[in-house]
């Protein structure tokens, strides 16, 4: 038996009358990186948003180590150690890079925050150069770094990543993969949505496929390695 | 129809006033009028008929007033109209009332244009702007050595209905105002105005300002050490102004148009105050509270004279027959005729004498 961190069962989410998730169920194991795959509009972002409370599920449960998260407000879920890097990034455009990052650690004590800040700059040296610049003036990739950095600043237990590779150059994708490895080693659990299969399979341990609002398929990444063609056919068609 | 709105035991009267909005303090006039109706009704009515007021809000807004008038005339089908504060609203409904032909006694709005030139069915039952303006100017000039007069007012029809006739009167006497100032509603500081007045050194100031602005103006005059006498309108009274500013020193040189026979807390007004309080126990009494009652007295007088067989033409004729009616409340009598429908041609003034509000006929000359 693996140690389950997050357990999602029979999750239903809809926008108005439009049902997006219909009874999706899957588990996320402690310390792993699980990737959600699926076509555009299959409900991947919706899943992440439902976990962190941005959308209230109509039914079903989201349990973090036995604690029911479904129905809680986002800030409560955040307090349980769930952070998200959203697809639209949602930075504070007129605040500087440093302020954006520091705000990520606002819920924690300031002494540890200072250290996290140093770590973040270490991970993304480019941000150190840009620390006094308002984030709206950053390039797309730089903004993505801030978004990831800000989420890490809160020292999450579970990190939700919505397309972390979006807009990042190949080297940075590789760096993200390395960061994910480090985080896993530190005991952070990751639930990732990724269309960049290179990164998805490089960084993840397992994957889950979303289709028609359900988790239909999944498996070990290792088993699938090297067979992208088949995966693409399976998942997206 | 000539008998629309009357039954064997009732006469319905449309009473329009600003019951809402930022001029709603005027509607105290209509409250006073309706209290008077109720007193008459309690005394048995007139020839067995009770006066039934149908109240309508104008909010002092012309369009709303027209709607109110049309409603009263065409939907509620009242016999006659009495009331109306706010000149603009009254002027706006005039064409409608003229067309409809029912008797209308204007009981508060002062603009002369409502009743001049005379229309067959419109009667003015309060001192009009001209009467008030003349009273103000005459009082100002009755003070020995008044040479220089300044005017301070709001830029609205209400203020102009006082200040323009006063200007005209002064001009007749060969006097041009030395200074004309504006203080708009809602202004809470009169420094600029008072400093200009200090420079111009008028002997008397005519002030057409509402309650709050009057108090602010007087307060700032005091603050900057200006003690020129100020002649105010019937829109304010001495008692409440004193209450607002808090000390007699600030208001001791303030005079108001006071169209009544006695000061507000004087013995001859007490009966009217008691009457209003009987029917409207919570009503705070101000200058406005009594202003429409005189025209009510005139109406009752006319209705009584007609006898039980009432119609609109008879009422109009009976109102025109009223001459020199002492209403017991207005300082000047009411006289109506087919070619002069401004029934009240004069007004007294009030000021503090020995710290007590006193009705005056001229500078330092008490009324009667």
């Amino acid at each position: 038996m693996h140690d389950i961190l997050l357990s999602i069962s029979d999750l239903n989410v809809s926008y108005g009358k439009k049902a997006i998730l219909r009874g999706a169920s899957y588990d996320v194991r402690r310390g792993e990186c699980l990737t959600l795959l699926g076509a555009n509009g299959s409900g991947k972002s919706t899943s992440l948003n439902a976990i962190c409370g941005f959308i209230k599920p109509t039914s079903g449960s989201v349990k973090l180590m036995g604690t029911e998260l479904a129905g809680l407000d986002p800030h409560r879920i955040f307090a349980h150690g769930v952070a998200q890097v959203s697809q639209a990034r949602d930075l504070f455009p007129d605040l500087t890079v440093e302020d954006n990052l520091r705000l990520g650690a606002m819920r924690r004590g300031s002494s540890t925050a200072a250290q996290s800040l140093a770590t973040t700059y270490q991970r993304f040296p480019r941000l150190a150069d840009r620390r006094k610049q308002p984030t709206r003036t950053l390039s797309g990739g730089e903004q993505q770094m801030v978004a990831i950095g800000r989420a890490l600043m809160s020292d999450p237990l579970l990190l939700l990543l919505d397309e972390p590779s979006g807009g990042l150059s190949p080297q940075l994708c590789e760096e993200i993969a390395q960061i994910i490895d480090i985080l896993k080693a530190e005991g952070v659990t990751l639930l990732m949505v990724e269309q960049n299969l290179n990164l998805a399979f490089r960084a993840a341990d397992r994957f889950i496929v979303l289709r028609d609002g359900q988790a239909v398929d999944g498996g070990d990444v290792a088993a699938m390695a090297g067979d992208h063609e088949a995966i693409v056919r399976n998942i997206y068609l | 129809d000539e008998t629309t709105g009357i039954t064997d035991d009732s006469i319905s009267i449309g009473v329009m006033g600003p019951f809402s909005g930022n001029a709603s303090s005027y509607s105290k006039a209509e409250i006073g009028l309706m209290a008077y109706y109720q007193m008459i009704n309690d005394e048995g009515g007139i020839h067995g008929r009770k006066l039934v007021a149908i109240q309508e809000d104008t909010a002092c807004d012309p369009a709303k007033a027209i709607a109110a008038a049309k409603k009263l005339i065409h939907q509620d089908k009242v016999f006659m109209l009495q009331g109306n504060s706010c000149s603009g609203a009254a002027v706006a409904i005039k064409p409608e009332v003229v067309d409809a032909g029912l008797p209308w006694i204007v009981a508060h709005a002062v603009s002369d244009t409502i009743s001049t030139p005379p229309s067959a069915n419109i009667f003015h039952g309060v001192p009009t702007g001209e009467a008030n303006g003349n009273a103000m100017a005459a009082f100002v000039l009755s003070r020995p050595d008044t040479r220089n007069v300044a005017i301070i007012e709001h830029s609205n029809d209400w203020a102009h209905s006082y200040s323009n006739p006063a200007r005209a009167y002064l001009k007749q006497q060969g006097i041009e105002p030395v200074l004309e100032l504006v203080m708009e509603r809602g202004q809470t500081d009169a420094t600029a105005q008072v400093l200009k007045l200090k420079q111009a050194k008028p002997d008397f100031i005519i002030g057409a300002l509402y309650e709050a602005e009057t108090a602010i103006f007087l307060r700032d005059m005091k603050k900057y050490g200006l003690d020129t006498p100020v002649m105010g309108t019937a829109g304010t009274d001495l008692e409440n102004t004193l209450k607002r500013v808090g000390d007699l020193d600030t208001v001791k040189n303030y005079f108001v148009v006071h169209p009544y026979v006695d000061n507000l807390d004087g013995p001859r007004m007490k009966k009217w105050a008691d009457m209003i309080h009987k029917y409207y126990p919570d009503e705070e009494l101000t200058n406005f509270s009594y202003i429409a009652i005189g025209s009510g007295v005139a109406l009752v007088e006319a209705l009584k004279s007609i006898g039980p067989d009432l119609d609109r033409a008879k009422l109009i004729a009976a109102l025109d027959a009223i001459k020199d009616l002492d209403t017991g409340i207005l300082s000047s009598p009411i006289t109506w005729s087919a070619d002069e429908r401004r029934g009240v041609q004069g007004s007294a003034v009030a000021g503090f004498v020995d710290g007590k509000p006193t009705v005056l006929e001229a500078w330092q000359t008490p009324y009667q």
């Binding site: 926008y15 555009n40 797309g140 397309e163 960049n196 299969l197 068609l237 | -």
Partner: protein
């Protein structure tokens, strides 16, 4: 013969920072030119300078021989340049169809009077535009979504619609800023298909920023590599793949 687009010694400085430094190249009709480079290399800045959203500090941009370096965005786009935005430029309250139809605004006939009185010409033009927009949506399998507001699309779907809107008017010159971000592999392939078709069949000149190197290699005729605001290499995909500096600066891990 003048080129479709000629960029000459173009530079953009932000209070001391040289976001774009002396870049020159040209683009012919029917050509696909990719711009690649690390994050913050100045690629988007290059697009902004060409399309009039930032004022170049120096240099010139010519569209069909005419200088456009200091023109307003709409007048540049009115001359036939269309671009996408890296951070989303859809109209959320409009439906998918209406978003695409807005891309056809300039092609839709009907003057103010015809529109006001609802005359036949104007109404016919509307119908034609709607029909064309639907055809385009179908190409990317988005026709099912035509009548829902763009705000209700997923991230990837938004990107697809923005691209369709941008290419709808078949402009002579297209600037696509990371069009493939967030697209599923299948959608990516479809999009590349469309890009190739536009340049091949319709002779559209395309400037393409993209980090997905396999796409770039497959689609581009020529590649411009940038780093730190400067051009570091230029050539065919094959040349770039083997370029030492490029390998060091960018492709290292791809």
């Amino acid at each position: 013969m003048t080129s479709l687009l000629t960029v000459d010694h173009l530079g953009v400085h932000f209070s001391g920072l040289k976001a774009l430094d002396d870049v020159s190249f040209s683009l012919e009709a029917g050509q696909v030119r990719a711009v690649i480079g690390p994050n913050g290399a100045g690629k988007t800045t290059l697009f902004n300078a060409i399309s009039g959203y930032v004022r170049p500090t120096h240099g010139s941009v010519r569209l069909n021989g005419a200088e456009i370096a200091h023109s307003s965005p709409h007048s540049i786009s009115a001359r036939g340049l269309r671009r996408t935005f890296q951070n989303g430029g859809l109209f959320p309250a409009l439906t998918v169809l209406e978003n695409v139809m807005t891309g056809l605004h300039m092609q839709t006939e009907g003057n103010f009077i015809q529109i006001l009185f609802g005359l036949r010409q104007a109404r016919q033009a509307e119908r034609d535009a709607a029909a064309k927009a639907r055809r385009l949506l179908k190409l990317m399998k988005m026709d099912q979504m035509a009548d829902i507001p763009a705000s209700e699309l997923s991230g990837g779907q938004q990107r697809i619609v923005e691209i369709i809107r941008t290419v709808a008017s078949e402009p002579p010159l297209l600037l696509l800023d990371e069009p493939a971000v967030g697209l599923s592999p299948i959608a990516r392939a479809q999009m590349m298909e469309i890009i190739k078709r536009l340049s091949g069949e319709n002779g559209v000149g395309i400037l393409l920023i993209e980090h997905a190197v396999e796409l770039v290699m497959a689609a581009a005729d020529r590649i411009l590599v940038m780093a730190a605001g400067m051009r570091i290499a230029e050539g065919t995909p094959a040349e770039i793949r083997n370029d030492k500096t490029v390998l060091e600066a960018y492709l290292g891990h791809a």
